[in-house]
Each structure stands twice: as C-alpha cells, then as structure tokens.
C-alpha cells in the first residue's frame, strides 16, 4: 500500500546526530544498580572541576587581561570571529565582556579601517574552546591564547525561561515499549494511546482518567523484532489520523487503528530518526527539534530542544530530564508536543510521557 508523501513529514532528516538511533543494548542489572548507586552519591564541586575556567566570561576576561598586557596600540578596531559551537548571541555577549575589559584598560575600540585590527577568534577542539587574540603592535603582532572546557558552553548558556519543556507521565509497564503515540481526536471523542510493544500494537482508550485496553494488533509473522536490535517508531499520518505507520529496521508496516484491519508490512530503506519536529508558532518562527541527549543506556537521559538553524552542537534552547534512556520520540497530536518512551533506570519500567513545548515566560 502506497504511503502518502506527507506521511513521513515528521521524519525529516535531522541535522543532529541520532544519539539513540540504535537498538537497546542489553542493560545488565548490575550496571543499572551501579548507576542508581552512583546517582545517590553526592557529587562534590571538585568532581569534573576545571578550577581555571569557571565560565566562558572568566576565560574571556583573562584573555582581555593578557591582550592588554601585550604591547599594543591605543586605538584598535575589534574584529570578533566565532568558529565554535557558540550561538551568535552568546558570542556577542562575550565580545561585550572583552570590549568592556579593554576599555577599562584605556584601550579605545573604534570602528573602521583607520585603526589596526585586534582580531579575536573563537575556535573549537575536541575538548576545548580556544580563544585567540592577535594584538597589533609596532613591527608585527602578538598573540594571547586562553582555553576553556567545551562543556562550559552548555553550562553557561542556561536555557532561557521563554521556552520550557514539560512532561506528563501517561503510561508505564514492565514489558518493553518501543514507541507510543497519542493520536489527535475530535472534541468529545475518547482519547487514544497506541503502544508498540515489540511484536504488537496495543491500543488503549481513556475513560474517566484511566486507560482501558481496546484492542491488540499483532505484527505479521516474520516481523518480530530481533533480540538485540529491537526498535521501532510509530508515526501518525497528518492527513489521516486513523492510519498509523510503524518503522522497523528495514520494514514499514501500516494499519488503521480505528478498525480491525490487519497490520500490513513491506520492505523499506527509510531510516528512523529519533529527533522530532515541533512547530509551535507561539514560540517564534523557528522550527524546533526535540531529541534525546542520551549517551549511556544505564543512566538518566535528557530531552533537548534546538531550533533547526542552530549549529548541531550549540546549546539547547530548552531541556528536560527524564528518568532513563529515551527509546523513541514520536510526534504528538499537535505541533507543540511529542510522545517519548523512556525506560526508568530505577524501576526498570517503560514509561510513556507526553512532552509539551511551553512558550510562556
């Protein structure tokens, strides 16, 4: 059965690395226990400490002090170049810190070509942000360099309170859940939740605040998920909300969740992407990508929100902690929400969350 082009609209190619675009590795019970124990241990400030670089502002202040200490002209034009994964706003703030420090040291920053150029460049290495200042001097230039740990970029740039991610637990169970969706329903209709549990679609309806099993649709024989590559993604068609698609490794299945039709599968080369598009018009003109930040299947995870034009490793616009690795993120019933499946590292349960983007101050 052909799939409408718009069906896959929310599975756009993400600019971000699909961190969790992988089957779940077996999580040893011991590792979970250790992760939990570690989580309980208070981590002092000295851990992961970088005593020299408290913030990027400190780093830039030190750079400015070094630049001023070098032989220099009294009038200079400041050329500020950002090649690192810093937002332009953040780079501009750092520029202001640098300029203020220079002006405090009686260096007059002017615009135009008449004055020699003081070049500041922000570069990035695998572990560091490197600030270099090339200071014009009589007969040549001098160089000052400062380094800061790259994670400071994220630590300093706390998400603003304009954008906020909020989560609401909708379901939990011991058996594995690979993906879940909360399809849009008409006003007055019963709310629905579709859960994809490895080899079957389980459809629930909400009555008086409780989810009741409505029906179960088994996947055709031969499409069972492989032991170590169990993963799948549910997708609701934009044009036909009663049609649900399941993306499996190398396969695509479809069914109508409102009737008794069987699940039909075919071979596909479509790739799954864990990032999900959120289009909340109230949150500016950006298109937002929601993705997980997970690097470890034994620890808590984080959902991050980035706008689609930001550099891939720029700080997120908003973030939300979840109690375990994120297995999948599906588009929600509206443009401003998504459904995330998380395995709680404390309980071992699989949990379904509705994650909503809030634009309130």
């Amino acid at each position: 059965m052909a799939c409408p082009a718009t069906f896959w609209r929310d599975v756009l190619n993400s600019r971000f690395s699909p961190v969790n675009d992988q089957p779940a590795r077996r999580i040893p019970l011991l590792a979970c226990t250790i992760a939990f124990m570690i989580a309980l241990v208070p981590v002092g400030d000295s851990i992961f400490a970088q005593p020299q670089s408290q913030s990027l502002e400190d780093c830039v202040e030190r750079l400015a002090r070094k630049a001023v200490a070098l032989p220099h002209e009294r009038r200079m034009s400041l050329v500020w170049t950002n090649h690192a994964a810093l937002s332009e706003r953040r780079a501009e703030n750092l520029r202001a810190v640098f300029a203020a420090r220079l002006e405090g040291a009686q260096v007059r920053l002017v615009q135009g070509e008449a004055a020699p150029a003081l070049l500041v460049s922000i570069e990035q290495t695998p572990s560091q942000i490197v600030f270099t200042a090339t200071v014009p001097a009589e007969g040549g230039t001098n160089v000052a360099i400062e380094e800061a740990a790259r994670p400071l970029v994220a630590r300093d740039a706390r998400p603003s309170n304009v954008l906020r991610l909020e989560k609401e637990l909708r379901w939990q169970q011991e058996a594995k859940i690979l993906s879940a969706v909360l399809p849009a329903t008409s006003a007055g209709d019963e709310k629905t939740m579709i859960v994809f549990a490895e080899d079957a679609l389980v459809i629930y309806g909400e009555e008086q605040g409780a989810w009741n099993l409505r029906t179960t649709k088994l996947l055709p024989p031969g499409t069972n998920q492989r032991q170590r590559s169990a993963r799948g993604q549910l997708i609701i068609a934009d044009e036909n909300v009663s049609q649900v698609g399941i993306l499996l490794p190398g396969r695509r299945c479809e069914t109508n969740w409102t009737d008794d039709s069987p699940v039909v599968c075919s071979v596909t080369t479509a790739e799954m992407h864990p990032a999900r598009l959120l289009a909340a018009s109230a949150c500016g003109t950006y298109t937002w990508w929601l993705r997980s930040d997970g690097t470890d299947w034994t620890s808590e995870d984080r959902l991050t929100l980035r706008n689609s034009v930001a550099p891939s490793n720029s700080p997120p616009a908003a973030e939300l902690n979840v109690p375990g690795p994120v297995f999948s993120i599906s588009a929600g019933p509206d443009g401003g929400s998504a459904t995330a499946v998380v395995r709680n590292v404390v309980t071992g349960n699989y949990e379904v969350y509705r994650v909503a983007l809030s634009c309130a101050n």
Partner: protein, 480 residues
C-alpha cells in the same frame, strides 16, 4: 572488515607513536580493552572504567574512582592494581600512578590539566596479562582467534605476547561479561593487509561490511555512491630535517624550499580536496590556533634565496636528497610534488627510497638521511601537548625542561619557534576514509577516528536478501 595494515599488535606498550600502525592497533584494541574515560562528540568526558574523577587546584594530583563489579574477559574482577600495572608504563615520564581502596591516584610533577585528554586517547587502555601472557580486557569483544596460513594455537598466541606478526585474519567475538552490555554484533572478522582497491571491490561485492580506503579509492567510492565516512585530518605529511640549520646557507635553503611549496595546490589539486593544507605541526582541529601560522607560497622570494645559496650547497649544484619511507603511494605522490615545486624555485631535489638507499651503500643512506625526509605523522592523542611532545621526542628536538608546555600561550610560542627553525615544513593533513555497506547501522564514530564498533549493528533486512547474501558475507550481525 578489511584493513590496510598488514600486521597488528594489541599490546599498547609496543605501539610506535605517530605511525599508521598505531591507529590500526588502537582501533582493534578498542574492541577488547577499555579506558578510564572517553571523550564524546560534545567535548564531555564520559565515565568508562572510572566513574568519578577529581583533581587538585594545581592539576598535579588526580583521583579516579573505579567502576565496581567490572570483570575481565576471563571472569576475574578488575582491581585498582590492574589499572596501575597497565597505565604506569604508558603515562608520561615522571607521572606516578598508585592504587587506592576505590580507584587510583595519578601524581604528576608538572600540572597535567590535559590528563583526561591523554587518558581518553592513545595507548591508555586498561588490560592485564594472564598466566600464559595473553592480554585480557574488559571491553565488548575478546580475540577469539588469529590466523594466517595456519591457525595459531593458544600457546602460539600467548608466546607472541598479544602480537600477531604474520596474522591475516582476526576474529573478535562478543564478551558476555562486558560491563557496558553485550555488543550488537556477535563477532567482528578482520582481514588485514587488504589494498584499498580490493577492499572497495570486496565491499561492493558484498564480501565486507567495512573497508578502509585511501584518498584515491575514496574518490571512486564517492562516485559509486558507496556510503563513505571521512574523519578529521588525522595524518600529516611534512618535510623533516634531522637537525637545526647548521649555517646561514642551510637556513636559506630551508626557507627557499618552504616558500616554494604550494600547499593549497597539493591539497586541492593533487589530492583533489581530500586533504587540508598544513601550516603547523598541530592541525587546527587539535590546537585551535593553527590558523595563526602563515605558510604562504612566495616563489619570487624563494628564487631570490636560491640565487644567494653557495654553489656547493645541496639543492643548488648538487641535489638535496629527500628520503622517502616505505612504499606508501601517497608519500611518493607528495614527495614528487615537493620536487616539482622546488624545481620552480631553482632548487634540485632527489627522492631517495629508504630501502633503495640502504641497499646501495651505507654512505648513500647516511647522506640521504642527514639531509631531508618526507615523513608522515598520525595524531593519536587528544592532548595537543602530548601530540607535540611525542613528535618532538621522536624527532629528537630539544624539549624545554618539564616537557612541551601545557599552557596554550607557551605551547603556541614553542611550536612557533620550532616552525621558524625550519626543522619541519608541514605540507598537508589527510583524513581517514572508511567505506560502509548499507546494512551497517548506528555507525557513530568520533571525528578523531574511534569507530565504536560495539555500538554498530547490521541490518539483516528482508529474509530473502539474507539468503542471497548468505554465501558472500560472514553472518556476524544480530540474529532474528
């Protein structure tokens, strides 16, 4: 998978810094050994065998807490003493590692603010030897067998102390005891010594899932729509002089040669944009300040300097010998371009193969070796200081007391000084190229060359496809 290196050794103590073999050894060692920490693509150090770490304000004393319950592949528990025994010989001179009840402490005579970068790269794996001398790790795989023409017995393997000098095939199978969970694939089969052209063909024929390519085969792969991965530029090529200039004439010769080199043309035309022009020893991605070095080409100035050379100077009346290591095609190609560039400035260079020079006479070999060499250097450390230190040591450069400075200002100044000495004329930096079969999933390497094969899985796809491929590929993927 098919790799270019013809032999490997898994014992990190035997790896030669800066060599291409180092990179292959490291990649395969990554399958069976773990590190204390790793670095992720966001610049964050991630716990591996160490779960916590801290340092004092001078960065001379570091404490690491070890993960509990980690087992070697033979089932024995990892102990702090194992970490001490493995890392002590690999740490920089003067560093002392000692066991604590919960982990290890590393004491450095100088500030070691880059210690995590060091531990997250290079040879700093944790392993131990069993009674037979086999190297055991805590990683996701274990070396199941190593074969060439005949299968090695366990005793033969142990006698080689982790080395497989004539090995052509290696098989790594999953380690069910791995603390980070079982890898997706059951095994990784490695064939060594496969020329890039054949590796690409094997990949296209479905005989391999991953193939290491060269610059020219990478271009072919791109044209054939093969899935291709390119790393950061990890290998630098340079003209190296064995000693500082002995005279003003010698200095002028090096200056003229440096100004005659058109590095951009080498990178863009000769290597068809598969490389980057290099202006310093440390590449931009590693130091963050390489752009400050200027290595512009100035043929007119080079000609002027050439005209001022004494008649007996090498490069003038008699050729300057440029020694070439081994039979690396790319080295030869670059060396030939250096000769062409130099000729445009009136300098005469003659390429001498190391093996040919050695065969002809000791005098020719000594002369060639004393003049200039075309060298390649593979970056294997995430610490710019350690990378520079390793190169300086191997080149017998004079290193300041306390080693290459860790402080970026001082390190830059020292590197600049060495560049101005013209002991080294950087040419180009070249990335790694890997071709992947379409069924390889979750390929998520670090840009600096860690392949993370434990996270890769193979898409078995349609059962009918599997039947078709059954004869061609080793079935190492996840089973239904």
């Amino acid at each position: 998978m098919e790799l270019r290196a013809s032999s490997i050794t898994l014992n990190p103590r035997r790896w030669k810094p800066g060599s291409q073999e180092f990179a292959t050894n490291e990649r395969l060692a990554e399958l069976i050994f773990d590190r204390l920490v790793t670095l992720d693509n966001y610049g964050r150090f991630q716990p591996q065998l160490a779960t916590e770490w801290s340092r004092d304000s001078s960065a001379k004393r570091w404490q690491f807490t070890l993960r509990q319950g980690v087992k070697f592949s033979d089932g024995t528990l990892l102990a702090p003493a194992d970490v001490v025994a493995a890392l002590q010989p690999l740490l920089a001179t003067g560093m002392q590692i000692s066991a604590t009840p919960t982990g290890v402490t590393i004491q450095s005579p100088n500030p070691a603010s880059d210690l995590l970068e060091q531990l997250a790269s290079g040879p700093h794996f944790v392993y131990r030897s069993d009674e037979q001398g086999n190297l055991l790790g805590t990683g996701a795989f274990v070396l199941e067998n190593a074969t060439s023409n005949s299968t090695f017995s366990r005793a033969e393997k142990s006698a080689a102390d982790g080395m497989a000098p004539q090995t052509q095939h290696l098989r790594f199978r999953f380690n069910d005891l791995c603390w980070s969970g079982r890898p997706f694939v059951d095994a990784v089969d490695v064939t060594l010594g496969v020329p890039p052209q054949r590796a690409l063909l094997d990949l296209q024929l479905g005989k391999a899932d991953l193939a290491e390519l060269s610059e020219d085969t990478a271009r072919r792969a791109q044209q054939s729509n093969v899935k291709l991965w390119t790393s950061l530029p990890l290998t630098s090529y340079a003209v190296k002089f064995p000693a500082p200039p002995k005279s003003a004439n010698d200095r002028k010769l090096r200056e003229a040669l440096s100004l005659s080199l058109d590095r951009n043309a080498m990178a863009r035309v000769l290597l068809q944009k598969q490389a980057e022009a290099a202006s310093s020893f440390l590449p931009q991605w590693l130091s963050g300040y390489a752009f400050l070095f200027d290595m512009e080409s100035n043929l007119e100035r080079a000609k002027e300097l050439r005209a001022s050379l004494t008649a007996s100077s090498p490069g003038a009346a008699q050729p300057l010998h440029l020694m070439l290591d081994g039979n690396n095609d790319l080295s030869k190609l670059i060396a030939e371009r250096v000769v062409v560039n130099a000729r445009a400035a009136g300098l005469t260079l003659q390429i001498v193969s190391r093996t040919a020079a050695r065969a002809s006479s000791d005098a020719t070999f000594a002369k060639a070796e004393s003049e200039a060499q075309l060298v390649s250097w593979r970056y294997t450390s995430l610490s710019p200081r350690e990378a520079l230190d390793g190169f300086a040591l191997s080149s017998r450069w004079e290193i300041p007391p306390g080693g290459v400075p860790a402080d970026a200002d001082a390190r830059y100044a020292w590197e600049k000084h060495m560049m101005e000495e013209k002991n080294l004329l950087p040419l180009v930096s070249v990335p790694d190229f890997v071709a992947l079969d379409s069924r390889v999933r979750n390929w998520s390497p670090s840009a600096w060359g860690d392949w993370h094969l434990a996270d890769v899985w193979l898409d078995q796809g349609d059962p009918s496809t599997n039947l078709r491929d059954a004869g061609a590929k080793t079935q190492t993927g996840a089973k239904p």
